[in-house]
């Protein structure tokens, strides 16, 4: 079968440049920026798993392995663009500008943790699969309506492509040429179901053809390739050329969530053995080393900064004031209805949980 969507790659797993066209863009500064953010979210991710194991937060959704996809895409956005993430895309949210303290509060089951970013249009993680794709289309349509140059990006996994809302979101966005990027991270598994059982299509990106939109299949472990593919898709969106479907081929190194045991459904040992070989951060490190961009001192320095930032946020999360039960009643409507007000008062009168 002819490969209709070759994998777009700029550096291979050993860090070698495989695509000369973009050589000028691979500056030391860019490499450092990408490296910093990938390291930051990996450190956070490892901490997230540890905090769950220690019972200091609730179920956590790890994304290790997907850092290049999340950082490369998030850093391609402009300040006023819209981000619609899922529960596995907190790496992307944090990179774009979500607040770390609130993110941790969210994993600790606190409603305050869903407060959107103080500065950016970042929606809370969408839990129902693919339902936020039409939202991204609508937010993007609103930008066109208002005559701005802003765009939207929606994140979703391979499993989401089987949902009706995937189809409805892509279709409506394509009909109205909405400035939106549909950014798929195909990590091969929807909890336990391998992508081969998710669909009979060879790739996810080929579904773009059905909607008459651009499709790009990118090496999701190559942060440069992801970054440039998303930049180009956003540029097309801003130019009125409509949506792009990007399939970033990646690997979820760990479990679906901290409540999941992947050895039940896949050869987890094999994935553990190949981790270093395919790791997106090590790939960038290899490239930087080969090109004289690696600076041990700088790496030590950013690691210290990151550790400090995360520890401060954990402290803030753990010392956050106790939840006020009223909070669940206060934001259902602008003004509570009488039923909500009555229920709130009844609960407060009996004092709620002690």
């Amino acid at each position: 079968m002819k490969v209709r969507y070759p994998l777009f790659q700029i550096i291979d797993k050993d860090g070698n440049l495989t695509n000369q066209k973009y050589e000028d863009k691979l500056t030391g500064d860019k490499a450092k920026l990408l490296y910093y953010h990938m390291t930051r979210i990996r450190t956070y991710d490892q901490k997230g798993v540890a905090l769950q194991r220690q019972g200091r937060i609730g179920t956590y959704v790890p994304f290790a392995g997907q850092e290049a996809s999340q950082v490369g895409s998030a850093l391609a956005l402009a300040d006023d663009d819209w981000m619609f993430p899922t529960y596995r895309d907190h790496g992307a949210s944090l990179t774009f500008g979500a607040d770390l303290d609130r993110m941790l509060l969210h994993w600790n089951g606190r409603m305050e943790g869903c407060l959107p970013s103080r500065k950016k249009n970042i929606l809370p993680a969408s839990i129902p699969i693919a339902t936020h794709l039409p939202h991204a289309a609508g937010a993007a349509m609103a930008e066109t309506y208002k005559g701005t140059n802003n765009a939207a990006i929606a994140y979703f996994g391979d499993g989401a492509t089987s949902e009706g809302d995937f189809h409805e979101g892509l279709n409506i966005a394509s009909v109205f040429k909405a400035p939106v990027v549909f950014f798929n991270q195909n990590n091969g598994f929807a909890i336990s179901l391998p992508v081969e059982r998710q669909m009979n299509s060879e790739t996810i990106v080929q579904k773009s053809e059905a909607y008459g939109i651009q499709g790009v299949r990118v090496d999701g472990m190559d942060v440069f390739a992801v970054h440039i593919a998303v930049q180009e898709a956003l540029e097309r969106a801003r130019n009125g050329e409509g949506p792009t479907l990007i399939e970033a081929v990646t690997i979820r190194f760990g479990a679906h969530t901290t409540a999941d045991d992947p050895s039940k459904y896949r050869d987890q040992e094999k994935i553990n053995r190949m981790r270093d070989e395919v790791d997106p951060i090590l790939r960038l490190e290899r490239f930087m080393t080969m090109n004289g961009m690696w600076d041990e001192e700088w790496v030590k320095q950013i690691n210290a900064v990151i550790k400090d930032e995360i520890n401060t946020a954990i402290e803030a999360m753990e010392s956050y004031k106790k939840p006020d039960v009223a909070i669940m009643f206060d934001h259902v409507f602008e003004k509570p209805t009488w039923t909500i007000e009555q229920q709130r008062q009844n609960l407060l009168r009996v004092g709620g949980r002690k």
Binding site: W82, M111, E112, C114, L115, P116, N121, L123, P124, I127, P128, T131, H132, L133, P134, H135, A136, A137, G138, A139, A140, M141, A142, E143, Y145, K146, A152, G164, D165, E168, G169, N171, I172, V175, I327, M328, D330, H331, V332, F333, E334, T337, W338, T339, I340
Partner: protein
């Protein structure tokens, strides 16, 4: 019909037109599109065709394709897109062609439309209206006749409104569009082209969450809304000839229910008949009974009665008049509570 003096005066002072319910809705949409550039209409066949019931007739011509948007046949898609637009400061009015076609968008409504304000602690509110013709009695095909207001009255985070006449249709629609929270606006298609009413030409609103006493009596409180109002009124008129008089209340908003108008009347009459065409079990009638139980238990002189659609899928139209509450069934229920 009872009309307050103030209302009658205010109506005589303003320019009015004699409109059907569907014309009043069209007029309300027209007024609101003209007021606010952030308001737009999305739906199937709403543009060039003016909607299958002509609710949006002439609006695309007047306001353009960007304000009155023909969408693909995609309820989850365009309700979802409306959510995205509302995140981004627009105020979409979505038309669902028939309430029974809302099910593909059920997930969008249950997981996002109703939860966004709570989820974001008020950072984002969705100022959007979902309009849907509902109900049986117009010989339409299967699924076109559902009356499932209870699904949505049960969902925290959305108001449910249902007018029964042209004046309320326009006023409630404008209030719904101006409400900062999502509103499901149910339109009784059986009454779309029925009685005409004087409807003020200008913008006015009817407060959400308030019922209306449309007929006064002493013996029984009859509660209904939407297409069941004429059924209830026919029955109470028959009863009046037998010397039984009723308070007839048009609830108009199904969430939040107007607890005060209900309890005030029930505490006077002590007898209750609730009429709705939605299925009986878990219908809005159950909630009304619960409110009366909490507010007026000791005033009751008879067990409360419900006259409702049955716990069966709405049948094809050969049997729809058997499914629907009739004045005769309502009269029987009134007699039953009086004779208890």
């Amino acid at each position: 019909m009872v009309m307050s003096k103030e209302l009658a005066e205010s109506r005589s002072a303003v320019k009015t037109n004699s409109l059907t319910v569907i014309q009043a809705i069209n007029n309300g949409l027209n007024v609101m599109l003209g007021k606010d550039k952030h308001t737009l209409i999305l739906g199937e066949d709403v543009g060039k065709n003016g909607g299958v019931f002509r609710a949006t007739d002439g609006l695309q011509e007047k306001f353009g394709e960007n304000r009155v948007v023909d969408t693909p046949l995609s309820e989850a898609g365009f309700v979802g897109a409306a959510v995205g637009m509302a995140f981004n400061g627009l105020r979409p009015i979505v038309e669902i062609q028939f309430l029974g076609f809302i099910y593909p968008a059920f997930e969008q409504i249950a997981t996002h439309v109703t939860r966004t304000r709570t989820r974001t602690l008020g950072h984002y509110n969705l100022q959007m209206v979902i309009r849907a013709p509902y109900g049986s009695g117009v010989r339409s095909p299967e699924i076109h006749s559902d009356s499932v207001e209870a699904f949505f009255a049960h969902m925290p985070g959305i108001k449910v409104v249902c007018p029964s006449n042209a004046y309320d249709a326009k006023g409630l629609l404008i209030a719904a569009i101006e409400d900062p929270d999502p509103v499901l606006f149910l339109e009784p298609m059986r009454l779309y082209r029925g009685k005409r009413e004087d409807v003020p030409e200008a913008k006015y609103s009817v407060e959400l969450g308030k019922g209306k006493l449309v007929e006064q009596g002493d013996d029984v409180t009859v509660l209904a809304w939407g297409a069941m109002m004429p059924v209830a009124l026919t029955a109470t008129e028959q009863m009046r000839q037998h010397g039984i008089t009723c308070d007839v209340i048009d609830l108009r908003t199904l969430y939040p229910l107007d607890k005060d108008i209900i309890s005030e009347s029930v505490q006077k009459t002590g007898r209750v008949v609730i009429v709705h065409e939605g299925h009986e079990t878990g219908g809005v009638g159950s909630e009304i009974i619960s409110i009366i139980n909490n507010t007026s238990f000791l005033y009751l002189r008879a067990p409360m009665e419900r006259v409702t659609g049955f716990d069966v899928p709405v049948p094809l139209f050969a049997l729809e008049n058997d499914y629907l509450p009739t004045p005769e069934r309502v009269s029987q229920a009134i007699r039953k509570v009086v004779n208890f």
